[in-house]
Structure formats: structure tokens, C-alpha cells
Amino acid sequence: MSWMSTDVLLAIAVGVLKAIVILLAAVLSGAFLTVVERRLLGLWQDRYGPNRVGIFGSAQLIADMIKIFFKEDWIPPFADRKLFVLAPAIAFASLLLSFLIIPITPTWGVADLNIGILFFFAMAGINVYAVLFGGYASANKYALIGAMRASAQTLSYEVFMGLSLMGIVAMTGSFNMRDIVNGQEGLWFIVPQFFGFLTFLIAGVAVTHRAPFDQPEAEQEIADGYHVEYSSMKFGMFFIGEYVGIVLVSALLTTLFLGGWHGPLLPPIVWFLLKTAFFIMLFILARAALPRPRYDRVMQFGWKFCLPLTLINLLVTGVVVLLTA
């Protein structure tokens, strides 16, 4: 083991430490969002929200966690046990793994993969199984309908989610996230790739099943959909997983379209966090402000409007890139 000098070992240790910090930050921000969202929804809908525990409801998270940990962990006797347990783990892990590719500052970030964005698409593809298996294993009509809706919706929206980013890939000539961030030093990609930005935003909301694309878990119609049979921490993993998804898509939007850590005056980490927080607020505002459209309209909007738009965007980008090259 001659190649394992102390320098290499030190670099590995620092890298692992950074990865753990990023992991914890992602999980904790996801957990805190559950409370932040309810407070903000209250603010925007002209009511209080949870404001009783701690100062301005700041300790609500602890109360929620204690409650969710001590609930009975109930697996229905008619459920498919293996898949039932596996589903929330997939939901949580696949989204958390995607944080691997996000470059937070010039020196911080877990992995510098050449396939960058493709890794996120792969993880988003795996994430579909969480909902699908969760719905199937529950052996419940509502859960099955929710799982069907979720998988059909996610598959449809993933098609143009991939295409919406290909404009950026064509402009930078790389899938690597760091190359993409460095390619935005002069001009953020939100300007030349505005339609790519819009479609990726929509697809990101749809893939994380957030309002107004939360038909898979529409509580008024199908009683919370695929996780209706889940309780205790298994439900908690689906629940926190959804918020981790919001953080992830916001961080991706920041990296891909708003120039990542680039910005004047403030240090890179502050810029990254500010931009990510902005998109998270946008997610919550969308939930507060928009009603839920009908399911077939959602599918039609995806296939008949967003997909052609991304194709035209990619075509025009390709022409421009070829002409200016």
C-alpha cells in the first residue's frame, strides 16, 4: 500500500468529512422545511400556522419528530412486507444520493462526475420505484391509484426534464456540473436557456409530486395516495424525502440556471444558499397560491405543450451553438 501516503489519506478523510456535512445539511434542511413550509403557508394564507411550540413555533420540528418516532410502526397484514419496507428507503436514499453531484462552492462538493446530470436522471428514475412499490405493497385501492398516477406522471415529466437540460449541455459541451457552473461566469444560463429553465422548473415540481402537480397524493380524492398505509418513521421517510426532493431540485436549479456559487461581494457559499432558498420559497409559494389541476390536464400539458417546447428549444440552441462555433 505504498500509494496510500499520509497526504492521500488526509485528502480522503477531508473528502469524507465534507460529504457527511453535506449529507447532514441536506437531511436537516429537508426536516426543517416541514415546519418552515407550514409557517410560510400560514403567512401567505393569512392565518397563523404552528406557532405554539418554542419561540414562534421554532421547536415544532422537535415535537413532530418525537411524535413520529413514538408512533406505532404498523405494517398491514395484507401488505407485501419486503416491498413495503423497501419503498420508503428507496424514496429517501435515491434523492439524497443525487446531492452527490451538486457543486456547492469551488472547493465544496462530494463528487466531480463526468456524467454529472445523467446521475441525477438515473436517481430520479430509481425514485419512481419508491412510489410504485409503496403503492403496490400497500394492497390498497387508493394507494394503487396514487402509485399509478405518480409513476405515469413522473415518467412523462422525466422525458422532457432530460430534454430541457440538453440545451445547457450543448452550450457547455459537458455533463459535468462544475463545467456547467464555470460556463456561467459571464451570463447565467437562465437568460439564453429561459425556456429550458421554465420546463425544468415545471418538471422538477412534477417529479417531486409537489402542488400543483400533487395528484398522486391528492388527499381530497384518493386519501393521500401511495403512502396512505404508512405510519411512524416509514411515513416520515416519505415525508422528509419529499422535502429533500424540494431542496435537491432547488439546488439543481441554482447550479444549472442561476450560476451556482457565482455572484458579487458575498462569499460563494452565501450566494449558493441564497439562490437555493429563493427556489425553495418559490416551491412553497406555488403550493400556497395555485389550485390543483385535473389529472388528465396535467398529462396533456406535459406531452402536448412542454415536450414540443423543449424540443424547439433544443433545436434552436443547437443551431445557435453551431453558428457561433
Binding site: D80, K82, L83, L86, L113, N114, I115, L118, F119, F121, A122, A124, G125, I126, V128, Y129, L132, F133, G135, Y136, L144, A147, M148, S151, A152, L155, E158, G162, G173, F175
Partner: protein, 188 residues
């Protein structure tokens, strides 16, 4: 990288074996997904990260979802598990297995004596190289695949076409269903 290759290859073989031997259709599909992901790791260890990513996105992330979807819709109960079990009786698989094992033996033997076995160097083949090859020497294959996909697209949109307005169609279906009785199950 060589260790990763052999480990992933082993996982792929075991998982694929379980796909065949498992009696629960959805669990079998779960093993198939694992097998596809193991194949992706095999690609990665061979130095083709682009192919590995596409393997997960396209096969594990999209095609297998549709497989699971269809199996879920069929809602196969315990009856099919019994059926599967009866199909896995030794007298059915022993014959083909012996023949396949013979072929495998011949293949391994010829590899053993063939000499020119490539080594795993872990050299990376990026997306750009794949793209230039695809639209260079292999352009004909890409065009043919595109034509095949176009044909599939036209077929799918023809089957999914719906000329009558929704309400009228529902009425017609209801009228047809009443006299036809139990015929529907046979057709499906």
C-alpha cells in the same frame, strides 16, 4: 476496477437467476432491476460511464417501470405463484439446463485457450467519443433505429386515436357490453 467488474458481474448473474426462479412476479421484476443496475456497474468498471448512466436511466428507470406497471395492473394473485412453481419442476428444466451447461463449458474452454483476453484498464470513454462514433461510422444504425422508433410512434398514436367524442364513446361501449356479456374477458 477489476474487483468491481467481477463483483457486479456476480450480482448480475445471481439476480438474473432469481428473476427466473422467483414465483412472485413483482419480486422477480425487482431482481431484474437489480440485475440491470449491476450491468450498469459492469459498464462503469469497463470505463464506459455514459453507457452505465444510460443503462440505469433507460432500462432501470423507464422500461422496467412500465414492466412493473403492467404486472401491477394484471394483479396476479397466489394462483400464478402456484402456476410458476409447477413450471419450475425439475423435469422441465433439467434437460435444457444440461445442454446450456455444455455450451457454457465449450465457451469457457475456448476463452481459456483463445489467448487474447482483454484486460480491464478502467480507461474512460466519455459521452463525446460515443457521440462522434454514433454520428460518424455508425450513422446508418442510428438512422435505422430512428425509423423503427418512428414506425412504433405512428402505430401507437394510431391505436390510441379516438375519433368519437368521449361521451358518445362511453355510450357505445355501454351498449356493446350489455348483450356481449362475459365475452370481454376472453378477448383480453
Amino acid at each position: 476496477m477489476e474487483i468491481a467488474f467481477y463483483l457486479a458481474g456476480l450480482v448480475a448473474i445471481v439476480a438474473t437467476f432469481r428473476v427466473i426462479t422467483h414465483t412472485n412476479a413483482v419480486h422477480a421484476l425487482l431482481y431484474l432491476i437489480i440485475s440491470l443496475m449491476a450491468v450498469a456497474v459492469v459498464f462503469y468498471s469497463l470505463g464506459a460511464p455514459f453507457a452505465a448512466a444510460l443503462e440505469v436511466i433507460v432500462y432501470a428507470g423507464a422500461i422496467m417501470v412500465l414492466f412493473v406497471f403492467v404486472v401491477m395492473m394484471l394483479n396476479l394473485g397466489n394462483q400464478t405463484a402456484h402456476q410458476e412453481r409447477s413450471w419450475l419442476a425439475p423435469r422441465i428444466w433439467v434437460g435444457p439446463s444440461i445442454m446450456a451447461a455444455l455450451l457454457l463449458g465449450v465457451l469457457v474452454f475456448s476463452f481459456w485457450h483463445g489467448g487474447s483476453i482483454g484486460t480491464i484498464s478502467g480507461e474512460e470513454l466519455g459521452a463525446k467519443e460515443v457521440g462522434t462514433r454514433m454520428f460518424g461510422p455508425y450513422i446508418l444504425a442510428v438512422e435505422l433505429a430512428a425509423m423503427l422508433l418512428l414506425a412504433a410512434l405512428i402505430t401507437a398514436s394510431h391505436i390510441g386515436r379516438n375519433d368519437e367524442p368521449q361521451l358518445e364513446r362511453d355510450m357505445n361501449e355501454r351498449e356493446q357490453r350489455v348483450p356481449a356479456g362475459n365475452d370481454e374477458g376472453g378477448r383480453a
